[in-house]
């Protein structure tokens, strides 16, 4: 999975039928020091994630289809967890989700 900050929602009414009813969020990849140069991406969310939360998501297609309970969805990312906190080893720095 990858770590990122959910920074917004995407509203899309006209889309592939198997994407119907799936909430889409904008994610900014994040490293332990906060930002990462990686470009922002759009992923699905079924955990009712609030914008601004620190999350981790999966990129593997077959797993996403299983999570969404539908076969062959044209989707390349899905949030599977929200981070409460990360206990970093050096200097005991804690990142709050």
């Amino acid at each position: 999975m990858r770590l990122g900050r959910a920074i917004g929602n995407v509203v899309s009414t006209i889309k592939h039928e198997r994407l119907a009813g799936i909430k889409l969020m904008v994610i900014k990849p994040v490293g332990p020091q906060g930002d990462l140069e990686g470009r922002k991406i759009i992923v699905a969310d079924y955990l009712n994630t609030a914008s601004g939360s620190l999350v981790y998501w999966i990129e593997n297609g077959t797993t996403i289809c299983k999570v969404m309970g539908r076969m062959s969805i044209p989707l390349r990312g899905c949030i599977v967890g929200q981070v409460d906190k990360i206990d970093l080893e050096k200097g005991r720095r804690v990142i709050d989700g």
């Binding site: 999975m1 770590l3 332990p32 955990l47 593997n60 797993t63 299983k66 599977v80 967890g81």
Partner: protein, 88 residues
């Protein structure tokens, strides 16, 4: 597989139900000279890693090919702890 260093552990109460009870770690990809790279993964620990330790992760669907992660909604798992690397 990728060589990684464990940076820390992640506490996460709201998550996919199949991830319940897993130790979830934040890891950083490293070179064989142990220098860190700007690439991080959130991986399920299947071998009992400690913080700061070096390990190997598998990503993608192969991450589900261990007894611990079978049928779980993960796509990154630490599957080995590295003791030593001998280079030419």
């Amino acid at each position: 597989m990728r060589l990684v260093k464990v940076l820390g552990s992640i506490t996460s109460t709201i998550k996919d139900p199949t991830l319940k009870g897993f130790k979830i770690l934040l890891v950083q990809c490293i070179e064989t000279d142990l220098k860190g790279r700007q690439e991080y993964f959130v991986a399920v620990d299947t071998v009992g890693m400690g913080e700061g330790e070096i390990g190997l992760i598998v990503t993608g669907s192969t991450a589900k090919r261990t007894e611990v992660t079978k049928k779980k909604n993960v796509d990154a798992a630490i599957v080995a702890k590295v003791d030593r690397i001998d280079l030419e």
